[in-house]
Symmetry: D2
Subunit: 420 residues, 4 copies
């Protein structure tokens, strides 16, 4: 798919380097002699361009951060500002406050005008200096506001919904004849975005999750029949659970959305847990929040306004089922349930994520200055790319139950490939 | 009160130093000219004694860790072993497993025989290498077992209940003619033991709690009307909450058992919270688990088997009341509730607690070798003392609402001295 | 000794609590029946007073930080400001920049006028937000400047020299008829101030030093005949070395100023090191920078301008002597020398030091507002006290080679009480 | 290049998954329409194979760790053991002690026989549980010993020299008719190995280096004309310096081997440093140990036995030159020189490196069990590959001064692309 451009770039770039528009990165890079000629999906490669669409001296950019917290948000804001201001000489960078609400003058507060003082040390703190919120914005009012403020470029840092919103903003701006470059930086601590090998904040989350698993391991080992159950982030994908499990090497059972499991039965999870407890007297379980949704469905009875079943929370659900199981067996388990999500997601980015945020941000600035729009910055095979926003909607990234990452989890835990 | 001794010490100590039995440390050390002649409570000073009651070469000691986890348990075990083995040359040190259950041969596992390998690096890990459990032990069976194993000294690391149990063990052993030295090392992460200025693990808990408060602060500040509510340990006393509040300096409301508060009313907590939210748009609340028990009593309806009211949990209670309050006011708060107890208590001891554990342990060894029994090691005015176990029962340490610690909390939070 | 007061306090304090001037804390608190009637040194107890000498609404205070970095400087600045501004309502607090140089308008920069924004998050960073420098100031020019600026109170955060300078400032101001309250907060990472049981920053330093010792231990153990030598801070006293040694439990030899040692000879340090290396194949040494000065003197040849011998640095000296010793013995040691001072002293205060800084600062504010001058805030037996500056000069605190702290070091290392 | 195989694999693999030998990963993956048909270097893809050359039940493997410490060594040892023992059922895994010396029975100690207890918690500690040493081994004696011990597979964890040694071992074993699979895992904290996008330990080093830079920044900012100079690892390549600079965002000058610089002259480094100092009054410099070797050559006078110039150390060299420069200018800089190498390299692996180590180790096990030899495991484009050892010798990885990583450094520091 081609990346949309607002028009012909014609201003010379102040940067020393540039990347050509016609270089492509294929999605599939393994050469298979048995299947040599497949036509491959490929992507435009990110980086500074020789010509800019926007004249920096007259350009006003805006940044907005949306959705849940994620380590690195402030690093992205900071590097966006520094690249725009120092490298390109952009006139003004606005920081919209409180997520998409900040685009709507009726809901939000006046945007900050960013400067060097504002961004000076924000990267040493978790959270987002611009504030955030969930939910969409009235596209019409937002675009009107962007036009009124003279915003040429909008950087949207957020998840799927945020990026779809960004697309809608660009489309609406075009309809109104305002050339608005909307460039997204995908933000999900879960690391489940297609065409993004690693989203920022993910590694920091794994690092923090590993620490919590270590604590939970200490708890489990210190008592007889100690069971620690830790719920980790990951609604659609178990990357954090898998990563932290391999890093920790102390988890005995890892449960993720990609690998359904049965609780009951001879080969079910509870039997396996019981077997381990009788052998080793303690167990550590890591469960992704999106695991076992089918089990929750079976027990759900309430429906929401739209008639959808209201699912429970897998953490307390598992906790209660484990307790009940061992109560019936007469085994006096001491179960500790730990839900560390807020502690994990609010930490500052670690060194690797800091570097990653810097790259995402600067590549986003390059794309926007070249007049590209309707895209997010992606990252494949250790290279940064441009991904049309529409492509994000079609696919989510998940763990491959037959792949290396999950094999490493099975090896680290010793758990069977399948429960039930 | 005098410390009980099993008999006349007559073996020379291998240590170079000694402290005389007749030195005393007064509980009250401030000189007040308006009240000059008060008779003061005073304590025997801990330390090595010139003569030992036990002949090291024939002595067998045992260690048991009981109750909830607390940073530093492994340090205490390690330093007890090292002092007994290296400094005194004690024949054998047993590690009873799984708390008091380990004293009962019908319930517990065979004790470990400690050696240098066993203790080598245990201090770098949280939890207890001996395991722990809650609850008492059959005193008769335990003493019989101790006699059978030839245990002369038992170190009991645990809270009030554990120490009372230790006293019972000593009394029963005496009844049976077995001179058993029982020396307790008070363990409570809450720091609420009388005659112990600082219990081991407390400072580490404050350090970890401060980190959680910082995360919670980031959460609260990143959204409009963000409220973070952190429940910290402290059933009878708010020391952890107070310490972490002063260390963090970002808490706006600290709630502890020692300072009752009202929720409703013009000067109640909810009004104060609302006022702050409207002014500053975010708030951070730290609540000790034992705070506001009177509020829970009012809402309790169930009674347990003994007819006592079953109280709820102040954390979820407050969370729900805050949500309800702002729902009624139409203020869309984003409330995060965080309960980090298991993460805090399972961390290894920090440097200061490591040093403190070492002191407690070595002083306990000194007391036991001198034949003292029925005591716990205390610590007042920066000195270690011997406290008869009976004295622990009579008094619990609490924050003084008119004292320096609480004044520092009020200064750090800016909260009123009183809600309601 | 009595604390000097600028005059009769007559303004009512806005604080709810107060401490009477006539309460005293004895230096010696142990009751010894063999020596019952000794007249004891005692101190005024710190805390808010009922009446103030300064009218807060008309008072201008200044803060200056001097000498080397120490964890907690920013916490002290912050809590001073908050207590003065919020609790007392003081009109203005100036932050003099760059140490004592900042008092001299010819050398220094204009002082900052502190406000809530300035102090907001400084406590999360190491160093000092006011800047620092070494060396004295021209007393006459400084006092003239303080009078010109209308400064009534000066808080001096620094070591001995700084406090003596503070005393000179107060004396000179008195000579000129300007009632200047100079209140010192003792700052030494080495923890060697008399009448201050624990100086702020010391515990953080021990914590950081322990981490470095752990790294050094890993280095030593990973190769055959690995020797790691770590130089820690402590010019006159080995408190950091002792504390970190006990916390780490992995040090084999701790060398401090208080315990002289011989290198050569059958019972010298090098023989003991060799013995250990041959038995265990690795060794970890912690040396305080002030240890072994007599050894350096023997080898010193240069003299400085005043004719004093210029001593070398014990770290490289020991490193070279160890290398030479084992070269002669034909034992291929792999020696790593580590000097982590700058990394240790520039870290932010840990939780315990944060709390301690807060106490020191608020008690200093109380003393100053009451019109007390020529004192530093001290801390004995877990209580804060007022110490006349002159008393600091007469005594330095050192480790007692026959005391508990050093005994704990000997126990942790297993080293002999004496080398040579 | 093809990977050498000891013979036809014929034993079925116990693993569920496998990767075909004929899949290849091209080194160059960017599609360039202007240069479409280039023949590309490509690599065999790592992973489990369908058939094994070695019968696990009869196979004995050995592991050796060589050269300087690097975070993650213990993780690699642990995962090698676990994959061989648990996944493949290999009979015995030996841990050779003290690097290549451990292969020579005249120099080394008896190898450990690894088991689950041995590896249980080694990954939580820095260093290597097997010990290490520098330098080669007598190939003949080593191979004789391997044959004597019945070792079929040897895993060599080390740098270039180690891998070349591994190759020599395999060649010599072949000459003697012993089918020895030698599989290398490249170890360099500097991250400068060709065909390895990221070596294990590198990220942890960046994380630790960033912390040191933050301390150095605090030092520099706390005094007027404060200059902190930090020497980081990187003999041939500046990856650690670059990574830590981008992560920290506080470095003002980063000096690496790939970008030569002049000290003197109007556009030299010293002039740029002076300019910054006069403007901002503090500066933070990060220098890779291999930077500026041409400057050292100019000043070198001594030659070693082979007649090569003995170069100085860039750290102290720069320190002295900076001091001298500002002494001449009369600017009283306060310079802190920090060399944290031993502290950095001895830390345990962080979460990401732990995961990376696990992958390297398990892929090495797969290659060896399939009978592949004379290779190291590499990693390109986020995939693991087999790299013939000979290819390592031909090329070292360096920072590209025109690439993204260095651009990020220039952006973070604001330093000119070139000094002089």
């Amino acid at each position: 798919m081609k990346i949309t451009t607002l028009g012909e770039p014609r201003f010379p770039s102040p940067l020393r380097r540039s990347v050509r528009d016609d270089l492509r990165l294929p999605a599939d890079i393994v050469l298979d002699p048995k299947n040599p000629s497949k036509a491959s999906l490929s992507f435009e490669i990110a980086g500074p361009r020789e010509k800019l669409f926007f004249d920096p001296a007259k350009t006003r950019a805006g940044i907005v951060t949306c959705g849940g917290l994620c380590p690195g948000l402030n690093n992205v804001i900071r590097s966006l500002y520094l690249e725009l201001h120092h490298a390109y000489g952009v006139k003004e960078v606005l920081g919209f406050r409180g997520g998409y609400q900040g685009l709507d003058p009726d809901l939000g507060l006046e945007p900050y005008v960013l400067d060097t003082d504002f961004v000076d040390s924000i990267h040493t703190e978790g959270g987002t200096a611009l504030g955030t919120s969930r939910g969409p914005v009235d596209i019409g009012k937002a675009v009107e506001n962007l036009i009124r403020l003279g915003v040429d470029i909008l950087f949207t840092i957020g998840g799927d919904g945020t990026q779809r919103g960004g697309n809608a903003l660009y489309q609406e701006a075009r309809r109104r004849g305002h050339p608005l470059a909307v460039v997204g930086i995908p933000k999900t601590i879960d690391n489940d975005v297609a065409f993004v090998a690693r989203t920022f904040g993910y590694l920091t989350a794994v690092e923090e999750a590993e620490k919590v698993l270590n604590c939970a391991h200490v708890e489990a080992r210190s008592v007889r029949f100690g069971v620690s159950l830790v719920k980790l982030m990951g609604r659609n994908a178990g990357f954090i659970t898998a990563g932290a499990t391999v890093a920790s090497q102390d988890v005995n059972f890892a449960l993720v959305p990609e690998v359904p499991f049965k609780l009951e039965g001879e080969r079910g999870f509870l039997a396996a847990l019981e077997d381990r407890l009788l052998r080793r007297e303690h167990a550590l379980i890591a469960v992704a929040e999106g695991a076992g949704q089918d089990l929750l469905e079976q027990e759900a009875t309430e429906r929401d306004a739209s008639g959808n079943l209201k699912l429970g929370d897998i953490g307390p659900f598992l906790r209660d089922r484990i307790k009940e199981h061992f109560r019936q067996r007469g085994i006096p388990v001491v179960l500790r349930y730990i839900d560390p999500s807020y502690i994990i997601r609010s930490t500052p980015a670690d060194a690797e994520d800091s570097i990653l945020c810097d790259r995402f941000a600067r590549n986003a600035a390059h794309a926007a200055m070249a007049g590209k729009t309707g895209l997010v910055v992606g990252c494949l095979h250790d290279r940064f790319i441009h991904v049309p926003i529409e492509m994000l909607a079609t696919e989510k990234k998940q763990l491959d139950p037959d792949g290396l990452s999950w094999a490493a989890v099975l090896a680290a835990t010793g758990q069977p490939a399948k429960f039930g």
